[in-house]
Symmetry: C2
C-alpha cells in the first residue's frame, strides 16, 4: 500500500501511456502462456498492443465467468487451469461443449450474446479482452484475425467430431474417444509419459459425453477390466494399451 503507485500523478489516470509501454508488456513477456495460443502468433513488439486491450484475471474453481444469453462483451484467453463450456436446458439437463485449457481462446461462439456458459473447474488464470477493442486491433494486426480464423476452423473440426461421438457412438466408444484425445494432448506436452490427470468430475464427463454419471463409471470400469487403462485413487488414468483404446474409440483419421 505504501509502495510506488501505478497512478499517473499528473492525470490520476490508471491507464497512462507510460504504464502501457513498460509494465504491461513485461507482464505479457513473462506470461506462462506467452508461447502458446493466441500470443504465440505475435512478436514482442505487437504484444504491446494486445496487452493494451487485455487484462489478467483469476477465476476461482467452481466460479462461472460467462453466462449464456448475456451480452458478449469479452473474449478470453486461458493462461493456466481448466474451464468447462456448456449449454443448459430449462429442466436442468446440461451439455458440456468443451473443456478449455492453457492457451485456449474462448468467446468465438457468440453473436451479440454468448451462446454458452463457462465455469472454472480448476483455478483459472486468464486474459480478458474487450471484443470491441480486439476488433479494432484487427485492422492493425491482421495476423491476429488470421489466427482467430484458424482457431475457429479448428474448433469447427472438433465440434463435428463431437457431433459424431454424441450422435453415433456407444457409451464405451465415447469414453475411449475422450481418453484418446486427452492422451494425445498430454503426449504432446512435456512431462509424464502416459499418466493423465483428469481435472473434471464424473458428472462433467457425463455432461460432456451425453451420458449419465453411472454409465461413465461403468464404462471406465469396463475399460479397466479389459486392461486398456488403469485408474488410480486420485482419478489419474494411465493408458496401458493405446492401440486398443484407439480401436475401441473408432477413430477414423
Amino acid at each position: 500500500m505504501g509502495g510506488p503507485s501505478m497512478l499517473d500523478h499528473r492525470t490520476g489516470n490508471r491507464r497512462a501511456p507510460i504504464n502501457l509501454r513498460t509494465v504491461i508488456p513485461d507482464l505479457c513477456a513473462k506470461c506462462e502462456a506467452r508461447h502458446i495460443g493466441l500470443c504465440d502468433s505475435l512478436c514482442d513488439e505487437d504484444l504491446h498492443f494486445l496487452a493494451n486491450v487485455g487484462r489478467q484475471t483469476t477465476i476461482a474453481k467452481g466460479h462461472g465467468f460467462v453466462t449464456e444469453g448475456d451480452p458478449a462483451r469479452h473474449f478470453f484467453n486461458i493462461n493456466r487451469g481448466t474451464a468447462k463450456l456448456y449449454k443448459d436446458l430449462p429442466d436442468g439437463r446440461r451439455q458440456i461443449t468443451g473443456f478449455a485449457g492453457s492457451g485456449d481462446f474462448i468467446g468465438l461462439a457468440a453473436d451479440t450474446r454468448y451462446a454458452f456458459s463457462a465455469e472454472a473447474i480448476e483455478d483459472v488464470h486468464l486474459c480478458r479482452f474487450d471484443r470491441t477493442d480486439l476488433r479494432a486491433v484487427f485492422g492493425r494486426f491482421p495476423v491476429i484475425e488470421r489466427r482467430l480464423l484458424d482457431v475457429a476452423s479448428h474448433e469447427l473440426i472438433i465440434a463435428q467430431e463431437q457431433m459424431l461421438l454424441l450422435g453415433r457412438k456407444t457409451a464405451i466408444e465415447r469414453l475411449a474417444s475422450f481418453l484418446e484425445v486427452w492422451h494425445q494432448r498430454a503426449a504432446a506436452s512435456p512431462g509424464q509419459t502416459q499418466r493423465l490427470t483428469l481435472p473434471m468430475t464424473r458428472g462433467d464427463l457425463a455432461d460432456y459425453l451425453g451420458l449419465t454419471i453411472e454409465t461413465v463409471s461403468r464404462a471406465l470400469s469396463a475399460l479397466r477390466k479389459q486392461g486398456v487403462i488403469a485408474v488410480a485413487a486420485d482419478h489419474g488414468v494411465s493408458v496401458l494399451q493405446p492401440a486398443r483404446l484407439a480401436g475401441i474409440a473408432q477413430t477414423v483419421a
Copy 2:
C-alpha cells in the same frame, strides 16, 4: 451458337483480361446468390476479384463433391440447392453435421485435409474457390476475412446447439428442434408462409438427429397426431402450432 464469341480474337485465350472485367462480373452480378452469403459483403467492384478466383459448377443430386480426408484445396459457396455435410465411421454409421443451402459457405472445417464429406441432395449450383487464391485475396479485401470469421462464429453457435440436441434431447425434442429451425429459416425468406419443403430423406434426417429412420418416422407421426404439424404426401410439412413446437423443442433463447 452463331452469336458473338467469348474468345478473344487476337489471342484465342478464353480468359483474357477483357473477359474478366466484363463477362465474369456480369455472371456474378446476375448470380442468384449475389445478395446472400459471402458475396453480399462485397461491392460490385470488389466482386471482380472474387470472380477471378471462383468458378461456377453444378453438382448433380446424389453426387459427392468433398471427401473426408482428402487434401483441402477448395472452399465452396452454394448458390442454389442443398447439400449434406457428414462424417462416417468405418462400420457405416454416419453423422450428418449440417445441411448447406443457398448462400452457405462450405470448407471452413478443414486444416490441410477436409474433416467432413459433402454430397448434393438436390442439384446444386455452387462457386468453387481455390483456398490458396482466396487466402491471397484476404490481404486485399479484409472484409472477406472478417466475413469468414463471422461465418465461422455462427457455425460454432449452431454446432454447439446441435451438441446439446444430440447429447441431451429426446427423439421428439430433436425432431421438433429441427423443424423449428427449418420453420424459422423458411419464415425469413419470402414465399409460402408455413409450408416447409424438406429436401432430405428420412434417412438423412435420422443421420442428422442421431436417430434411426424408424424413430424419426414415429416422432413425425407423434407430432402429427398431436396436431402440431401436418405432413403432406410430397413430404411437405406445415407447422400448425409454432408455439407448441417450440415448447416441445425445449428452445432456450
